[in-house]
């Protein structure tokens, strides 16, 4: 993969960053996934950038993780609790080797357990975490600054984008290589 260059502009107000995002996107024909906003709180989808469509695609697939894992858990539960009747064909309390109610209880728990794991996996997979490498970021984001992060493919574009951001009210600009 060829090198890419990033610009991170920090803003103080939502109005300014909202105005900065779209011109930059148009000027450099930035693809949907190549522009990001860094915030310290969850803003509603589309509040700052028009990325609703992209995120909608992600979200519509995200439920598959817990859902499919839940199925797996269901299978695991049935196999464990029900299958025990086959491998341990012992009679306890006059009950049959395979019993529905206990199998149901254990299956329920396993389904939910796998659902929990699936939810976490969905977060890690779609959010690209964990990623411990040095990435374009500024600690001021966690103190309330709003960051506009763009991925570009040439140094000229990087310079231009940085300038544009400054024009649109960014109070701090950070440039980087291969750290989107």
């Amino acid at each position: 993969m060829s090198d890419h260059y990033t610009v991170l502009g920090l803003y103080r107000k939502v109005e300014t960053i909202t105005k900065a995002g779209d011109p930059i996107r148009e000027a450099f024909r930035v693809k949907d996934g190549d522009i990001e906003v860094l915030t310290s709180a969850a803003y509603p989808d589309g509040a700052i950038l028009d990325d609703k469509e992209l995120l909608h695609q992600v979200e519509s697939r995200q439920f598959l993780f817990p859902f499919l894992m839940g199925f797996g858990g269901f299978g695991a539960g049935v196999t464990l609790a029900g299958g025990t009747g086959y491998i341990m064909n012992l009679i306890v309390g006059g009950k049959a080797p395979f019993t529905y109610a206990p199998t149901g209880v254990v299956t329920y728990e396993f389904t939910l357990l796998f659902g929990v794991i699936g939810s976490v996996l969905s977060l890690l997979y779609y959010a690209g975490l964990p990623n411990w490498t040095e990435r374009a970021y500024d600690p001021e984001v966690s103190d309330g600054a709003l960051g506009l992060l763009v991925k570009l493919y040439s140094t000229e574009d990087q310079e231009k984008a940085a300038k544009m951001m400054e024009e649109h009210g960014a109070y701090k600009i950070k440039k980087g290589v291969n750290d989107f």
Binding site: Y86, L90, V92, G94, K95, A96, P97, F98
Partner: protein, 251 residues
């Protein structure tokens, strides 16, 4: 589908029809005079730990078989009744299904079996036993000199933290069956005698195969005096009692 069948019809495991042997014990309450010889016989045969005076005071005695005394009436018209109580070997044993590690289960001959090595000591079985006949090893058992010389080599000594209870002298049943097999015949009455039955001076305890319709236990179990303890619990015990107290000579 055989495995599913039972869950619809709970009582499908009929020890009386599916197997050659179904062990049973009949205790004639009219014959019991509460001497307690069976308790000692059981204790000696099964290496049951002696816990000492202090622990017995805390109700931690381990007698697999105990004589329960019930006193009827007001002084001076008092009657004492005795009830030898041991594991009832229930066909639908409440203790078995609650064990998380299969340390207790039902063997094909209708006995409730305790596997000491599997037991982790959750004591759930003890809580679910309506007869309270399961005993827990609160401490390691000690057999000081010279008691250690009388330990029965056929029976394991239990570790601390393990549940135990009457096994209907499993080791004797095994030996009886082996002898009968060597002689090429079925086990008949008199081949096997648990320690308590052997010790009982009045012959109140009878042991045998209830599948054998010629056996004593079969006849006694169908005598009309036969009752099961806590019948309303639906446990279907293999131990049956012959009602006592109607005869005022003993009692």
């Amino acid at each position: 589908m055989r495995i599913l069948k039972g869950s619809i019809k709970v009582k499908s495991f009929n020890y009386k029809e599916d197997n050659d042997y179904s062990w049973s014990m009949i205790i004639d309450l009219d014959r019991c005079n509460g001497c307690g010889a069976c308790v000692i016989g059981c204790q000696a045969e099964n290496n049951v730990a002696t816990v000492g005076e202090e622990e017995v005071g805390k109700k931690r005695n381990m007698h697999w078989l105990r004589i329960e005394r019930y006193i009827e009436g007001e002084y001076p018209h008092v009657k004492v009744r005795f009830l030898p109580m041991m594991c009832q070997h229930c066909a639908q044993a409440p203790c078995e299904s609650v064990c998380p590690v299969y340390a207790t289960y039902h063997n094909p001959e209708g006995l409730n079996v305790q596997v000491y090595n599997r037991c982790i000591g959750t004591r759930f079985c003890g809580n679910n036993c309506p007869y309270s006949v399961r005993y827990f090893n609160w401490f390691d058992s000690s057999f000081p000199e010279p008691v250690n010389n009388q330990l029965n080599p056929d029976v394991s000594v239990r570790e601390r933290g393990v549940m135990e209870k009457c096994s209907m002298c499993m080791q004797r049943i095994r030996r009886g069956k082996d002898t009968a097999k060597d002689e090429g015949r079925e086990v008949v009455d008199g081949d096997i005698q648990p320690a308590c039955a052997q010790t009982c001076p009045t012959g109140a305890i009878t042991f045998g195969n209830i599948n054998d319709h010629e056996s004593k236990v079969y006849k006694m179990a169908h005598s009309g005096r036969a009752i099961s303890l806590f019948e309303e619990k639906g446990t279907h015990p293999a131990v049956k009692y012959l009602k006592g107290g109607t005869n005022d000579v003993i009692g």
